[in-house]
Subunit: 298 residues, 2 copies
């Protein structure tokens, strides 16, 4: 008996899956309207995910990536999981562009908490990469005139502030959030924190190392330039030295199943499901004639 | 030139000093009314400070310590810096006892934040020793029916809670507060913290070690059973091995000023000012004929 053991949380997180589903639905509705090719165009404001193959698939379905609202004059625009800024939304509204909102519900929450905190008189800390589109979208919901703090240095030096409200980019680490909370509590009498961190990344790492511990060989799927995938391969390798990090199943060396009863599989946050399925198909081919069980590990 | 260098924050904190001043004022007003001895009695609900000599001084002025509200039937009651519970206050009001409130303003703040948090739907964490009168007084201000959490285990296991509000006993360490904040943020989406820790203890330690570093010999005054004084002596000794921890100046060994130009002085939180002054007088006597400067270090 052979086993393929796949981490339940391998690949796309909830928000990315949802955005892709919304995009596909929008595309198929577009072609049902007879709009495909010549009707109102469908754009995505920035690539829906950071994976070239997946973006290519979407383009075939009529979804074109644009980099800014200036490039959009009409039709439909899909807002990706990161969300967009208030001003970009207003600009699209003014152009009467139809917005298909695929903002991750967890990002929506962070936006709403940032808005609420600023309305209630808190200086607002957004823990995250200030240049990331998600952080920009969260910051745009803070009421005008309210101090916005995105660095520990800025937090330490903030003057005239007594109440600090904190939200986080959904992919931040808990440790980083705690650093901001700790500095805030040393400097200000009231600190109100909304923990908006999404646990998908943490959960994926936890499940993947558990799978690596049970497997004879471990395969980590995802872009070589994907930071979260590389980190995933690193921690799996600590548990299981027979860990392969590849972008697709074709890249695995011929003898990788030698002496193997159980193959462990995981994938980074930007790895589409079909790349995981292609790996399972390849293993099934190599194990032709064997009894094979495919299990999800949770 | 000889120098006596005293840590500015040696001895009583603001709240204790204030309570003693209120007690003295109440006592002198009592005797001005001709009430001393036979008029309406003045009680203190629990000892005003944990120092027998100081309590004895107050007793001479007509302030008697009682252990519970049951022992009070009329006259005046001084509420010490820790504060009292809402129910004790109500019981005194019902007996028409005149309450002289010497609750530390920092404790008042913690009580008010606890009340406010519970009224706004937060489960309330009070970081501190659950048996300490201050913590009991803070807890009593939490609205009925609201979950009250005073241990990390209780916090981890709290169910049906989404919003957690945190206040601290004023003498808690920052590290302990942060432990509760960290656990709360791992378990609940919203955590609102009022940092009600008073910095007197931290400041006293900081100033005392600085003084120990400048002095040829260091004297730490305070009860041998006072935890904060013992800790003070410990950290001063790390800086200056010639550190003496004594309860009063008489206990210092004869030759302690040998080869000394600068004596450093500090005192624990429950050490009255006159014990510091008696030490200064003894040193002045031993250095008779020398030019002596007394400086405060801040």
């Amino acid at each position: 008996l052979k086993q393929i053991l796949i981490a339940r949380s391998a690949g796309f997180c909830f928000g990315v899956k949802r955005a892709i589903a919304i995009a596909n639905e929008t595309a198929s509705r577009g072609s049902a309207d007879g709009a495909s090719g010549c009707g109102p165009e469908i754009r995505s404001l920035g690539p829906l995910i950071h994976n070239p193959q997946a973006v290519e698939e979407l383009e075939k379905k009529g979804i074109r990536v644009v980099e800014s609202v200036e490039e959009v004059e009409g039709g439909k625009v899909i807002v990706r999981s990161h969300g967009i800024t208030r001003s970009d939304r207003a600009a699209l509204d003014a152009k009467k562009v139809k917005i298909i909102d695929a903002t991750c519900p967890f990002v929506n929450k962070a936006q709403e908490h940032a808005r609420q905190l600023s309305a209630e008189g808190y200086a607002v800390v957004v823990v995250g990469d200030a240049n990331h589109p998600e952080v920009k979208s969260i910051i745009s919901y803070i009421e005008p005139g309210v101090p916005i703090l995105t660095s520990l240095a800025g937090l330490r030096e903030a003057s005239g502030v007594r109440k600090v409200g904190i939200v986080a980019q959904t992919t931040q680490s808990f440790e980083n959030l705690m650093q901001f909370v700790s500095v805030a509590l040393r400097h200000f009498p009231e600190v109100r924190v909304f923990n908006t961190i999404c646990n998908a990344t943490v959960l994926r790492q936890k499940e993947s190392t558990a799978v690596a511990g049970k497997a004879d060989v471990m395969v980590v799927l995802g872009g070589y330039n994907s930071a979260n995938t590389r980190r995933l391969a690193e921690i799996c390798r600590e548990i299981n030295p027979r860990t392969h990090h590849v972008e697709t199943a074709d890249e695995l060396p011929g003898g990788f199943l030698e002496g193997v009863s159980t193959v462990g599989v995981t994938a980074g946050a930007s790895t589409p499901q079909w790349i995981i399925e292609a790996l399972v198909a390849r293993i099934r081919g190599m194990w032709a004639g064997e009894e094979i069980r495919v299990d999800l590990y949770q």
